[in-house]
Symmetry: C2
Subunit: 304 residues, 2 copies
């Protein structure tokens, strides 16, 4: 199966701890790398992950809190030092471009590549990226400032042809692409061979939903329905639900409820408050409602 | 003896490696903390060092390359989240204030403390900070952009009084402070008791010189003469002297020569190029000319 992996670079929250880097992940889809959020230290963690810097062309920023974007300048600057030439695309709330521009002009003078900002509107579910194998759609969230998640959806790949059947019907080579993409075959005598006899279906497209900082919000359910993997913040234990609501964050049990009700296949929780030394408790509480849950940690790689 | 320590938070150079954080140090003088440079990840390393965040009120930035200042926003922002109230003083080339201002306004809105910038002129040796126990003076360096080092000089502390002599001459208590500070004592009958009979000298004041990114420059010798500890960059092995000159950096042997000719007591080298996997070779080469040399590394604490 083609590669579809999520690499956790950092999963702490606003306050630095010795346990965690701040938020950053890299989604690897067929060796194309997509970074989600870029907290301080993301470039260091990217180096540790052994992922190839040159494969990273797209960065998605969920919202403009420092722990989700303070690593950008370092990363951009390092790409410059490494002689990068490919354009780097940054998808973020429009404010970010204004904030980074003075520093880009000063620190990255004469850089060998371009940084292109794409302004996103975090209040709408919109497809903001698409290539032939994947699309990325924003998931509107509700936080203290505009915030959104990102839904990565693989596109359906062509069916696999059954070699023996192709030989049996003596189907010419130039027909094969059409057949892989679902066409039936019409024999010279007019007989129609249905596609289902000639191919086996390809793996069903996979999907990953990243839900960044947000208060507990059930109206994301329809958008993330049935995803293979859901990252959801779980900043607090459920006993701190009042604090979660007040700061527009989510608790373990709320994240589990979202995962259960959206019928996702697997949940990974992160963005842990610095107050919890023993994060196993966060995991246990989430698993009490949604057993197939992972605890994010630095350098964790999840294969979809 | 009063505390005078240098804590290395990061000692890598521009390109991130898995071995090093970028440049940052904390000088601890009698539990007052002075940060020098603030590369990405400095706040994380500060947390690891267990030094008290609240004791840090002064940050000195040697020059405006990203690996020496990209950690500032994260640190400033974290101080805000922690409810800091004391003003934070940043000493840097004036450009820095202009570059950070838009981000400070956006990310640190409503922050509980003030960030005060002090513009320094890196081309002059000037005292830029002074309190009753220490002064900090800039050391002009020569790099691709304006750059300076910092000389931390402890002030002489009062002499120690010899209790027996004070009793012998029946010197009243109100005279003691003057005597500690070097005054002779005049007896009621007019006899003068020289200070040297009444006190033993306090420890001699210590000094630390931090020489940041610079090409090999002998005209710093007079300013750093005889310091207890010299940090000098040694980005390159001496075989790469041409590359060092071209990029305005220093080699191991050049740093050793500076240390030897300035007759410093101890040298610590850092800012290692990412190209050297085995940094023991950098140390060996430096020690061949100046034996009392240390290799900087993360979390190293040097007591003066």
């Amino acid at each position: 199966m083609e590669k579809f992996e999520v690499n956790i670079l950092g999963c702490g929250s606003a306050l630095p701890t010795t346990r965690h880097f701040s938020s950053s992940q890299v989604v690897n889809i067929r060796e194309k790398l997509f970074m989600i959020d870029c907290g301080e230290g993301a470039q260091l963690q990217l180096r540790r992950s052994k992922l190839k810097f040159t494969r990273l062309n797209h960065i998605f920023i969920s919202h403009l809190h420092g722990d989700h974007c303070f690593g950008l300048m370092g990363l951009i600057s390092t790409f410059g030092l490494l002689g990068r030439t490919a354009t780097l695309h940054i998808y973020a709330h429009e404010e970010l471009e204004r904030l980074l521009q003075p520093q880009l002009e000063f620190f990255c003078k004469g850089m060998t590549y371009e940084v292109k900002f794409h302004h996103i509107d975090p209040t709408k579910a919109e497809m903001i990226y698409e290539d032939r194998s994947v699309s990325v759609t924003t998931i509107p969230l509700r936080h203290r400032i505009p915030s959104c998640g990102f839904l990565f959806q693989e596109k359906k790949t062509p069916n696999h042809i059954i070699r023996d059947m192709i030989d049996f019907y003596q189907i010419p080579v130039f027909e094969l692409n059409r057949i892989k993409n679902g066409a039936d075959y019409v024999c010279p005598d007019g007989t129609i061979v249905p596609n289902g006899r000639l191919t086996t279906p390809s793996a069903s497209p996979r999907s990953y939903a990243y839900c960044s900082d947000t208060v507990y919000q059930r109206n994301i359910l329809s958008q993330i329905k049935g995803v293979d993997l859901l990252f959801h913040e779980a900043t607090f234990m459920h006993e701190d639900a009042a604090r979660a609501k007040e700061t527009f964050h989510t608790t373990t049990l709320q994240a589990a409820e979202i995962a259960r009700d959206a019928e996702v296949k697997q949940l990974v929780i992160g963005h842990f408050s610095a107050r919890y030394e023993n994060e196993a408790l966060l995991l246990e509480e989430t698993q009490s409602l949604f057993p197939n849950t992972l605890l994010a940690k630095e350098n964790l790689r999840i294969t979809l």
